[in-house]
Symmetry: C2
Subunit: 694 residues, 2 copies
């Protein structure tokens, strides 16, 4: 169970493997990240080059057809991949990872089988490549986090026993805790690869993804993201020689604005505060709308089996919109950057086209560019902001792997630049920096993170002098947003109906005690139990944990011996370590069944009740449950306040908590609490009057 | 007890106050930080100017006398302040803060009385100013963390009731949890102010200082350091106009090296790995020597009452050394910076003098300077490194407020530059960057932090492109260091004998159960207890918590009612809510004694047994303990593994844990575990054979 009971060699194996896994996760996620980037930039670059060339030859209809065709093709491929091969790849993936790390061990959260994980990874990777290349307003960080976690989950499953691709070493990772640790590393690596922000990745995993945290994990996560950073750094240096096709623009810093002169005074700070307030409001509105859109999509999906129809029209809508929204201005320019001349005479460029007809990354780079006050017209910025805000919301719901960071940064930086242009007469701050602050305010308003967003933005832009202002904006926008609703990932977790344990217990839990929420008939086993009883209980309940009670003659009075898990019971029954009499079997059982069999199986791979082959005559035999019982489960007294029990449950990352009676002379256990018992729906269902008292 | 049971207005008051306190802590720590900086740079600047002027006039003896006199005077003042006024101000302060946040509530850790805290703060501030200005190799971050924590502690004590300087509002903070939260914010603010590194401050508090952490705290800490950053930014802008005397050199980035071109290839990485390995070894040697030196000093201190004698000779030693170690080279220079010409013709400078005859900050700045390969001779670097390494170790033990960061960065950057010079023929990396990596390796080797050091270094130097290498070096040096001994702060905590709870339980705890370490006769109270019994127990034991047991007629069988704290018992006895018969008093007691009286008093201010005035005839009266008992204490079953109990104890931040029996028909409580019971000394004392088995 615990590695401290193992021998020195085994501890060494465990530690070696732990770090090797962290290395592998870092390497693979880094490679996926760089592959993703190269593919997106090459596909999108090809598409944009083709269109632009056709337009320069004044073949507008052909250009439109080519552009729309490319988008439609890419979007359809992305959606088809998701719909037919890996449905779990759709969406951001971050809410699922968050729920898993909270302790929700639901089927299919991180892919049910090894093969499926592999397919999923491919689905996510190519889905997100096609999606981003199709010009959707989607980010790649959500899919990258999902990819990183899936890789970690794949590694944690420890090979395949069926194909003899496993090793005794890998058994150490067949438990919840080590698997959660690996997935935390995977999530951090995903963010690090998506934004080339290693420290930001660690903090993201700490602040947003993980529900509980140990300092040792901090160090391991840090190692993983360091590996990602080194892989990325190496490939970027390689690509700077021009060997990666159209890729090679961005360095390790994605949107470097360190060249800007940071100077601000009181009016600027007022402007920044206003920016934060509006950003927070827009952000929470964004969350509200995403929630509504997702609900609508799920209703639509009930009627239409596959949501593959969605991206089609969407893809062409965005194509149409982009070509129709022609700009009427061609400002002269001497700035460098990805400015598109699009129908303008040489030496001039079209500002809207520079935003729409570009990859999202380049658009953000243009928006954040400093010393280019007049580069974008106020009207262009406004049109682009409205378009991105709406497209971002609509696109999130469709069935492709998509992240929220990039759309939010895009809309936010556009909004920031807009505010910067409006405050131009009284402000000394560069509009590019306003753009950064706008992105910060919007991120704060939707994601509701603080330190990790701050560090991610810092690593994206390499401008440390803006730190005080970025911190200020984040604080204001998070405060504003929190007044209206929850963070976007929390909302999605709720929407998906995952039993997430909140960090703070609800106020009414203070007035309830643990006994109040214990429901249902409690099923307990005796220390040496009849096989028939166990089979009956396994068949007729969905419980995953059963208390074991020692009764005379094995003890003087009934007492709680421990807790057995369904999965271990199944293995024990499969092993048929039965006896005809009610006697203790001791460690004979464990010599019959290998320790390896008891290790937690990959999700969906465990034994099922149907796999058992128990004969009628074996029903009356006995089986000793002592060897497989966890003899020191966490217990609380029935009169403990529910709020206190909830804190205990979450802080220790439990799955089952035994409630014991306060007074003597009663059965030694009152009931078992699981995470479902702490859900507000369950409690309010039991005590409907609480809702009115609030 | 818990704020959730309060009314809406009270919750609003609480939240408002919580943020107001964070604001005040941020503001005060920021102001102290900037005041510190201005004072140090002015005093040290004056001293150095005087000496240099005298030397230029070839009055060497006068120069020496002036320099030594200044140093001696400053050092004596610093030590006198500490020795006579605020002895608790000596040393770094970080280990004490760390122990407090781990739950050690020892007398005098964070100053026993309000007045004393104030004196302490002044002691720390001026002590560190004088110490740094005297040219000691000491840092200011330790004292700043201590100052921040003391300010927080002062605020948390909620004014003085004696002088009617309190408010009903402040009672919310009279409990352990809120006070710990405030002190965490104070520690973060201290680091933020010392290094102008707001994000680094948050991470330092998270990684090193705090033992347990909630996400809400992350946000509040972030707010506090944001305030610090804004205060610092404002003053630095103000000082850049030249109104702060000799201050005004450094911007928000203390050692900006972002101008350097970062380019590295395979041989550089090998050099960097070597750097990390040696840095880790040197760092753990540093820890070992600091430990030895501190033990020696404490032995000396047993003989000599005040350690004021130490700094005197030390101060003049460093003066002498500095003047005697004249450099034999005067390289020509066209670089800007704080280079001293010291006995060299104009246009030339003396490289050793540039290091020794400078404040520590300027010396680090010189060492980190890029594009200045030949600026320092290898021999000068070597001499300086040895001097700083030894002086840093010796100085830490003397009785002035001193931090470890600056000495370690100074020694590390010197060592890094030295390695850089040695690898010059095969390395493309700038020696200034080698210097940064040297500092990182040394910090990693002594402090054993990862993410927070990385971010602090980033915020100190503003060079994001070095991030992958800095991460690599930190990982290597931490790993190397961990092979030999523990981090320096952990060592000091151990040395001071504070009962610190480690994050990981010791391996042998796995083989023990909770009952095994319960010692001593258990003293329990009945639900309605005789006054005499309580007085007797309070007088004859040092226990802080007593279990309360309900017996017939108040319950059917003896059952555990809850836990009462010594402090609450004293208040109850002082209130004299006694009755002649053994009956339940109910809430009548609370109407007699104000809720405010039960709030946790400032450390050292609580009621004492001697303050009680109980008459002989009252000894036979009864007092009802139900109103003050905590009716849902955390309990564990006696057979729970000790390792599991230790994790529970630490993760929930407990002070007392009740051990209940597994079988029925026995008294309802077996014993109480406190943090002392989990200390290895206690356990190994009970089971000496474990030591041999290991």
């Amino acid at each position: 169970e615990d590695w401290r009971s193992r021998r020195t060699v085994q501890i060494f194996q465990y530690i070696l493997l732990k770090w090797a896994f962290a290395l592998i996760i870092g390497l693979s996620t880094g490679l996926v990240g760089i592959f993703n980037n190269i593919a997106v930039e090459n596909i999108a670059g090809f598409k944009l080059l083709l269109t632009t060339e056709l337009m320069l030859k004044h073949k507008y209809y052909k250009a439109f057809a080519a552009y729309a065709g490319c988008n439609l093709g890419l979007a359809t491929s992305a959606a088809a991949l998701c719909a037919f091969i890996a449905p779990a790849a759709a969406g951001s993936g971050i809410p699922e990872v968050k729920a898993y790390l909270n302790g929700v061990d639901a089927y299919s959260i991180l892919a049910p089988s090894t093969l499926f994980v592999k397919v999923n990874v491919i689905g996510i990777i190519f889905g997100s490549i096609f999606g981003v290349a199709a010009g959707f307003v989607v980010g790649k960080e959500g899919p990258m986090v999902h990819t990183g976690s899936c890789i970690a989950s794949l590694i944690g499953q420890g090979g395949s026993r069926k194909y003899h691709l496993t090793s005794r070493w890998l058994r150490y990772f067949k438990n919840d805790r080590d698997r959660r640790d690996l997935i935390t590393c995977g999530a951090a690596a995903g963010v690090a690869a998506a934004f080339r922000a290693p420290v930001g990745g660690v903090l993201f995993a700490l602040e947003e993804a993980a529900s509980w945290w140990r300092s040792a994990l901090l160090w391991r996560t840090f190692f993983t993201t360091a590996v990602v950073a080194i892989v990325l750094r190496g490939f970027i240096q390689l690509c700077s020689t021009g060997t990666c096709g159209l890729f090679g623009q961005g360095g390790l810093i994605m949107y470097d604005i360190s060249a800007a002169k940071v100077e601000y005074s009181t009016p600027d700070i007022l402007a920044v505060i206003l920016l934060g307030v509006i950003g927070g409001i827009l952000g929470s509105l964004y969350n509200y709308l995403v929630d509504k859109v997702l609900r609508t999509y799920s209703i639509i999906n009930e009627y239409v089996t596959h949501s593959i129809i969605d991206p089609g029209p969407n893809g062409s809508v965005s194509a149409e919109e982009e070509l129709l929204l022609r700009s009427y201005f061609c400002p002269n320019t001497d700035v460098s950057g990805n400015y598109k001349s699009f129908q303008c005479p040489p030496g001039h460029y079209n500002d809207l086209a520079s935003l729409f007809l570009n990859t999202n990354d380049d658009a953000i780079r243009n928006l954040l560019s400093t010393n280019t006050v007049k580069a974008f017209h106020i009207s262009s910025l406004f049109i682009f902001f409205v378009a991105v805000y709406c497209l971002g919301i609509i696109t999130y719901g469709i069935a492709i792997p998509s992240g929220l960071f990039i759309p939010v940064i895009l809309a936010g930086s556009c909004y920031g630049r807009l505010v910067g242009r409006l405050f131009e007469p009284i402000s000394k701050l560069d509009v590019g920096l306003f753009s950064l602050l706008g992105a910060a305010s919007f991120l704060g308003g939707t994601m509701r993170m603080t330190v990790s967003l701050c560090v991610i933005l810092l690593e994206l832009t390499n401008d440390l002098l803006m730190l005080p202002l970025v911190m200020l904006v984040l604080l204001i926008s998070k405060t504003m947003g929190d007044m209206f609703n929850k963070g976007v990932y929390d909302q999605i977790v709720k929407l998906k109906g995952l039993p997430y344990m909140e960090a703070h217990p609800e106020p009414y839990m203070k007035h309830l005690i643990a006994r109040d929420v214990v429901t249902g008939p409690l099923i307990t086993f005796s220390g040496v139990e009849k096989v028939g009883n166990i089979l009956h209980a396994l068949k007729n309940t969905g419980h995953n944990g059963f208390p074991v009670i020692d009764e005379p003659p094995f003890s003087d009075a009934p007492e709680l011996c421990g807790l057995v898990l369904r999965s271990k019971l199944l293995v024990l029954l499969k092993g048929k370590a039965f006896s005809n009499d009610r006697v203790l079997a001791g460690n004979k059982v464990l010599s019959k069944i290998s320790e390896l069999d008891f290790a937690k199986a990959g999700s969906g791979k465990g034994l099922k009740l149907e796999d058992l082959d128990i004969q009628e005559e074996e029903w009356d035999m006995y089986v000793d449950l002592h060897p497989i019982a966890n003899t020191s489960p966490y217990t609380v007294v029935e009169t403990m306040s529910l709020a206190k029990a909830a804190v205990l449950f979450r802080e220790l990352g439990l799955r089952h908590m035994c409630v014991v009676p306060k007074s003597q002379g009663r059965p030694p256990i009152v009931g078992i609490l699981t995470r479902h018992d702490f859900q507000p729906e369950h409690i309010l269902g039991l005590y409907p009057h609480i809702r009115f008292q609030q």
